[in-house]
Amino acid sequence: MDLAIGLLQGALMYTIPLWLAAMGELVQQRAGTWGLGIEGTMLMGAFVSYFITLKTEAILLGILSGLLVGIITGLFMALFIVILGRSQVVTGIGLNILAAGLTSFLFVELITKVYNRVPYVELMHVVKVPLLSRVPVLGPVFFENCSVTYGVFLLFPVLGIILYKTSFGLKNRAVGESAEKCNALGINVIKTRTLSVLFAYTLAGLSGATLVLGSTGSFTHGMTAGRGFLAIAIVIVSNWTLLGVAIIGFLFGITQSGQQILQIFTPQIPWQLLLAIPYIFGISALIVGALRARQPSELGIPFLRQR
């Protein structure tokens, strides 16, 4: 039983940042643009939240700074992708490389060279939900978490309502299917898409912060290790649905947690293979996704006003 609890707790810890990034990406992609730069944004959110928490010793400021990083990056990406209509692919990749270089450079110059070690920061405090946390197995897994995790749980139904039950959400989904028709109907395509991009990157920044303040308490070079891309794979294989994101995201978490346990218990399986599993899963997800899924009709096509 303890093994099951350990597996699930590990899975949830791995899943939370993925869920955040995937939810944001889902909204952005439903509105018609690829958010390939969330990997770099997660990384920058992670570093900034680590740095701020280290210097101010205030976890809340760390979280907020992660959000701020996401907002600023989102504004920038919206300018490039939505307003200027440039290549979503190359912009995303450029941002990721810039972020990796920036965070590693600042990490070396401002942390390693200054402290000669990697100082740890305090993690977010765990809050036990009374009564519910005593439920066997599920209790300790789902009801003994930090506030941000509970926030993520709540975000699912809230986002679901906004996306599927409000006119705002309808506009978001519509501009990804046919921007021209929406424009003819008087919907401000640029504004809707910009908001979706902002949402995605803000969540990505927060996701990075949870990586640091929720699990490790420190920063390492390239610590996101492709999670941003996995989030994109999750969105695709979930057939661009919120429920799919929840399920597939958790599945990824179980895979990762399971792989970590396997590394200990079955050392005969090469660890490099186990580390590669998320990426292999990602590609398989993409294949499966391409076979059965239906992506938003105008995903990737920039809306350029030729008036």
Binding site: L98, G226, A290
Partner: protein
């Protein structure tokens, strides 16, 4: 009639120079943020650069790699196949070559070197075939598939470095030193500049001719410009897409052998920097876009970029600036390219 073409060409040359210059400038800003004087740092680096022929020829060593990758990507991008996985193809090319060289340790250079280049080509081609096939058959986005194949390639290489290909001499998780016969002959003694440069230039020329003057090049251009037109014109779209990826991947794979035989002389984790996320394969993307997918322009752009690489490595060696600044500049340059090129 002549003048407009002339002016256009000048801008095409000025843009890459401007971009590289801006890259160095933003690097300076970052150095300043980290508390050092960028001017002294750059001065030191430049002094070291001009002081030795080894350092100056190193620009051509890096350029060789970039020319190969840039050319390989030029093929793919011309066909509108977004091969973001050049890095992975490079690694698998190096892996394939390492396997071959470990069983042919006693062959003479005239046999060994071409065989290793060919094996790396095949390695890269096979690695690119898979995403190409997925795109052609199922329409799977090749950007994500080629991208995800990069870390898989790295882990595969690391697996073998810890196992079958582990160095029996030192016991470290690196490949065995390749036999002297596989060391590429050096052109200028006392430097690392080897005949690979000629190979790179030849490849660029061949690809340019291939794309501009041959039927297959024409087909690649068509599927790149308009898949529908290609199909109406009787071109098998799926088949050409796969061929484009395979050729592109193969050429990028060559870069792996070039690094193996000319620079590191063994397979190891630092073969291409960045652990599979920002190495030569990605720099090649910046190069090919700045060159507008023109294989000949790639030569010039690669030299510029290689100069940038040299300067940043020297910045670390002489002024102690962390080498990660290069990665930052690389990303910044890619974004500049997106801004300045449609």
């Amino acid at each position: 009639m002549k003048k407009p073409v002339y002016i256009l060409k000048a801008i095409d040359v000025l843009k890459p120079i401007l971009i590289i210059a801006l890259g160095l400038a933003i690097g300076g800003i970052l150095i300043f943020v980290s508390g050092q004087n960028p001017l002294t740092a750059y001065q030191l680096a430049f002094k070291v650069f001009t002081s030795s022929i080894f350092k100056i020829t190193d620009v051509f060593v890096y350029a060789t790699i970039l020319i190969i990758i840039g050319t390989g990507l030029a093929v793919a991008f011309t066909g509108n196949m977004w091969n973001i996985g050049a890095e992975g193809q490079l690694w698998i090319g190096a892996l394939a070559a390492t396997f071959v060289v470990s069983s042919l340790r006693n062959a003479p250079p005239a046999v060994l070197i071409p065989i290793l280049y060919i094996s790396s080509f095949l390695g890269g081609a096979v690695w690119a075939f898979f995403p190409g096939m997925l795109k052609a058959k199922y329409g799977t986005n090749e950007v994500l598939t080629t991208l995800l194949m990069c870390p898989i390639a790295i882990y595969l290489v690391i697996y073998f470095l810890w196992g079958a290909l582990q160095d029996p001499v030192t016991g470290y998780a690196q490949g065995e030193l390749i036999p002297e016969a596989a060391f590429l002959p050096v052109i200028i003694p006392g430097t690392r500049l080897d005949i690979g440069l000629f190979l790179a230039l030849a490849v660029a020329l061949i690809v340019f001719v291939l794309i501009e003057k041959t039927v297959i090049g024409y087909k690649i251009k068509i599927i790149g410009a308009s898949p529908k037109t290609a199909q109406y014109g009787g071109i098998n779209l799926a088949s050409m897409q796969i061929w484009t990826m395979v050729i592109s991947g193969g050429i990028c794979g060559l870069a792996g052998a070039q690094l193996l035989m000319g620079v590191t002389h063994r397979l190891l984790e630092g073969l291409s920097p960045g652990g599979g996320f920002w190495g030569y394969g990605f720099m090649g993307i910046a190069v090919v876009i700045m060159s507008k997918s023109n294989a000949l322009a790639v030569i010039g752009t690669s030299l510029l970029f290689a100069f940038l690489i040299s300067m940043t490595f020297l910045l670390e060696a002489s002024a102690g600036v962390s080498h990660f600044i290069f990665e930052f500049i690389e990303g910044f340059i890619i974004l500049l390219i997106v801004w300045l090129y449609k």
